[in-house]
């Protein structure tokens, strides 16, 4: 070993070194906060996926059907799901409060007499599904546009950049709300795909589109900087074809940045979905999302705050976990540190 040349030693050390993905994974695992956040997200996702089981076997109610005349026995006492006010002038009804038992109406009822806990889980499914699917659309489109724009430059870059500028110029919620209002009562057809009004694909499509510039622009910038990198210049120098450079030199480096965006866009999408649904232009009744449940609870803030607080808390936990995970992923994959895929 002592007689190894410097060159041989370098080759050996490279052979024994772990790859950049492995390094990133090791770094991520070492980040306890990120791992905990990931665990929380897995738990919430699992609980949401189990919504039908909960509704059938635990709550025993249909979370999408009104139950205005329903009754329930709690600790041997029969109570109405919507309890009328019997004192004073006898005005109004108050939905059943949380029973805190692992059973029907654990978190109480909403103003339609529906089980809030069951709706919370179903709402989680929709919120996570919309956030996830919209993130896929957004990141896919943004990556495509950013890479094409930055790599090919010239007229293509000018054209795509201006389109992104136009989208960028709109306040995000104004754009989302405008699209929602136009599309909420009518179907939208994109080639062979028809998205019907009321479909979950509508908020997915809208949310997926509005954040494209926010991801595409940094990716384009990153591609432009990669084009000036030595390893790309070297590849050009040895006569590599543009497609080879794109596939083997540019894309692998861009992917790490896209991955860093995933948790952040997920969190943004989740909040946007909640906001749109809160404004009645996202998920449509009787389907639930955390945003629609908050809206249902808005009219009960005074008497049954749990209806709005529970989904609000779920959103806070999810977004917080996604942000912490996002920080961890960024630290692990940050191309400016030790990771370089070449």
């Amino acid at each position: 070993m002592d007689n190894l040349s410097a060159g041989q030693a370098l080759v050996r050390s490279h052979r024994g070194a772990e790859g950049p993905w492995r390094t990133a994974w090791r770094k991520l695992r070492a980040d306890r906060a990120a791992i905990m956040a990931f665990g929380v997200l897995v738990l919430i996702t699992a609980a949401s996926l189990a919504a039908p089981l909960y509704a059938r076997h635990v709550s025993g109610t249909d979370p999408f059907a009104t139950n205005l005349n329903g009754e329930i026995v709690i600790h041997g006492e029969t109570r109405q799901v919507l309890e009328p006010s019997t004192e004073g002038l006898g005005l109004g009804f108050t939905p059943l409060g949380p029973t805190w038992d692992f059973g029907p109406y654990m978190l109480g009822a909403d103003n339609q007499g529906r089980d809030v806990a069951a709706r919370l889980l179903y709402g989680g499914r929709n919120s996570l599904l919309i956030a996830g699917a919209a993130a896929l659309i957004c990141l896919g489109l943004a990556t495509l546009l950013g890479v094409v724009s930055g790599f090919f430059g010239g007229l293509v870059d000018t054209l795509l950049s201006r389109i992104l500028d136009v989208l960028w110029a709109f306040p995000i919620f104004l754009l989302a709300i405008s699209l929602s209002i136009v599309l909420i009562t009518q179907s939208i057809t994109i080639g062979p795909i028809e998205i019907r009004s009321g479909s979950l694909w509508l908020p997915i499509f809208i949310i997926g589109i509005v954040y494209v510039p926010y991801v595409a622009r940094p990716i384009r910038g990153h591609v432009l900087s990669l084009m000036q990198a030595e390893f790309v210049t070297a590849a050009i120098g040895i006569g590599a074809s543009p497609w080879r450079i794109l596939l083997y030199d540019i894309l692998p480096n861009v992917i790490t940045r896209v991955i860093v965006f995933v948790p952040l866009i997920l969190a943004l999408n989740m909040m946007t979905e909640s906001s749109l649904s809160f404004l009645s232009i996202g998920v449509q009744p009787p389907d639930a999302s955390w945003g629609t449940i908050i809206q249902d609870g808005q009219g009960l803030l005074y008497s049954r705050p749990i209806v709005a607080l529970a989904p609000g808390l779920a959103i806070v936990i999810c977004v917080l976990a996604l942000n912490i995970l996002g920080d961890g992923v960024r630290d692990a994959l940050d191309p400016k540190s030790s990771i370089r895929v070449a």
Binding site: E87, G88, L89, G92, F93, T185, S197, Q284, P285, G299
Partner: protein, 557 residues
């Protein structure tokens, strides 16, 4: 008309039907009033233009009655006589002449506008011309019977109403000539759209710029984002206590922007005196117990209903419309509105205690006078017979809590009948016009109707006559698109009979009510009540069936 921002066909009133729940608010009516102070009112938002010939909202109708006068008006009292028409700017109520086609009004002398100018017969003629020139929202429905109105509706800019409204300055009279006898004419010109304004009033919507009026108050300033400030009209002298009594407060401040929850708290604490918007549902129990003395509840002559498009499947089949009527649990819907102390189940068009009202409910488990329970078996049988089960139905509601809740409930009902139903809540600001326009192909919706004037025609003719159905228009208040020539003919007969024999006319209107109810172009859900929350310092809360709270008659301590 509708209760709030976007109204389309007529003005609001309130009913006297049934129980009036209230704290000892009216008990103060007999007290001696205390002039002075400023009333502080709250609303979520302003209601748009303050031009009295254009604004068509209950929110501003309520204040326009103390800012402006017509030739006649409804008596400003808190009992049933509040539905009666009395002379206002006219010296007396005219007797119809020429077989009910001519009315001659003699103008009172010595009345001045708030800008100091004298009221003249020229102002009356100019005001009626202005209504058409600025395309007022009710010119085509309420005032189209005046001679010359048809020409004015076609070419508003050159409107003269020649031969229709004729002034005699020397005699101080204004003569109205109608195309045909109209037993409701006096009621129609009693609403603020027929307010008399100075002849110089701009021939356009004045928006936020006030126009001089003759009432006891005038608008000092208006900022739709924050405040509408009213002060005493320095030129007002009471000429008729029953038509336009002098007001007690020196000023009225109408603030905008506070949400319902905050407004309730402000009124409870005495930081404001009254709120226009109904208190949110989760505060009702608290108001009914802790603040019962500050609450009054009055039945309204109004209805919440679900119009069904009689020209679109599946509701173009009468069996389907009747099935929906049979299937609805109206007691459950009443719960969504706050319970039986705030609404009464109903299945007919005319509200209780309204002229020509006779209790009738064919769509119930035990058909008769009152709704008792849904009849699901019958409903399902009707749907099965129609062969429409499985079709897709979309319900359009407002995005308000109650409207959306009712929509979700109806979705359950329709799903239970075998349809694939979805609910689309859309903004309160556009829903009413959206559901009227046939281009939007709305199948079923949730809506409300509040009376403009206390006559059956205001419900039956306005909402269900062929003439009220204007395909492709945002102003087609016959939302169901219902047009039955035989029922239309009955309406004309009832209208004609009312002139010669009011009792016979009332009978005929009752028959029309039953005929329309049977045809089920809508599912009437319930008759709502109005809940008012007032501050502890506000006294003499007078609730008129026509004007709701007559704010000029209250005082503050």
């Amino acid at each position: 008309m509708r209760s709030r921002k976007v109204f389309s066909a007529m003005m609001a009133g309130a009913g006297l039907a049934g129980l009036t729940l209230m704290a000892p608010l009216t008990g103060a009516a007999a007290q001696e009033g205390k002039a002075g102070g400023t009333l502080k009112l709250l609303a979520n938002a302003a209601a748009g233009t303050i031009d009295p010939h254009i604004n068509y909202t209950l929110q501003y109708f309520q204040i326009n009655y103390i800012l402006y006068d017509g030739l006649v008006t409804f008596r400003k009292t808190g009992d049933k006589t509040g539905f009666e028409v009395v002379a206002d700017l006219a010296e007396s109520l005219p007797k119809p002449d020429d077989g009910g086609k001519k009315y001659v009004f003699t103008l009172r002398k010595g009345i001045k506008f708030s800008d100091g100018s004298d009221l003249t017969t020229a102002d009356v003629v100019a005001s009626f011309q202005r209504m058409f020139k600025i395309s007022g929202p009710t010119t085509g429905t309420l005032y189209n019977g005046i001679v010359g109105a048809d020409k004015c509706l076609k070419t508003p800019a050159t409107c003269t109403l020649e031969g229709g409204v004729v002034a005699d300055e020397a005699a101080g009279t204004v003569t109205f000539n109608l195309v045909a006898p109209d037993p409701d004419f006096l009621q129609k010109i009693s609403i603020p759209h027929a307010a008399i304004l100075p002849a110089e009033a701009p021939l356009k919507d004045t928006g936020t710029v006030p126009i001089a009026g003759t009432g006891p108050y005038m608008i000092a300033s208006y900022d739709p984002n924050s405040l509408l400030k009213m002060v005493r009209n320095p030129h007002f002298k009471e000429w008729s206590k029953e038509a336009q009594p002098a007001g007690y407060p020196d000023g009225i401040d109408y603030g905008f922007g506070l949400n319902d929850e905050a407004a309730v708290t402000a009124v409870e604490n005495g930081q404001a005196d009254w709120m226009f918007d109904p208190p949110p549902a989760d505060r009702l129990a608290e108001l009914g117990t802790k603040y019962a003395k500050q609450v009054s509840v009055h039945p309204l002559t109004a209805m919440w209903y679900a119009p069904m498009n009689t020209n679109l499947a599946p509701f173009n089949d009468i069996r389907v419309r009747q099935a929906v009527n049979y299937a609805i649990d109206r007691a459950a819907v009443v719960k969504l509105f706050g319970g039986s102390n705030l609404a009464q189940p109903s299945c007919q068009i005319l509200p209780p205690d309204f002229p020509s009202y006779a209790p009738y409910c064919p769509f119930t488990a035990n058909p008769g006078e009152k709704w008792s329970a849904p009849d699901l078996e019958k409903a399902k049988a009707l749907v099965a017979a129609s062969g429409t089960a499985g079709q897709e139905v979309t319900i359009i509601t407002e995005d308000t809590e109650v409207s959306k809740s009712i929509g979700i409930y109806l979705q359950d009902v329709l799903n239970g009948l075998g349809y694939k139903t979805s609910v689309k809540p859309i903004s309160q600001n556009i829903q009413f016009t959206y559901i009227q326009n046939t281009n939007n192909k709305v199948q079923i919706s949730v809506s409300q109707w509040f009376q403009d004037y206390p006559k059956p025609s205001n419900f039956l003719q306005v909402l269900f006559s062929c003439a009220s159905f204007n395909p492709g228009s945002d102003a087609s208040v016959n939302i169901s698109g219902f047009c039955d020539k035989a029922i239309d003919q009955k309406m004309v007969e009832a209208q004609t009979a009312t002139i010669a024999d009011p009792a016979k006319g009332a009978e005929l209107w009752t028959a029309v009510d039953k005929a329309v109810t049977d045809a089920a172009p809508v599912a009437v859900l319930f008759t709502p009540k109005r809940i008012d929350l007032i501050s502890p310092r506000l006294k003499n809360f007078v609730f008129s069936p026509q004007f709701y709270w007559i704010m000029s008659q209250s005082w503050v301590e």
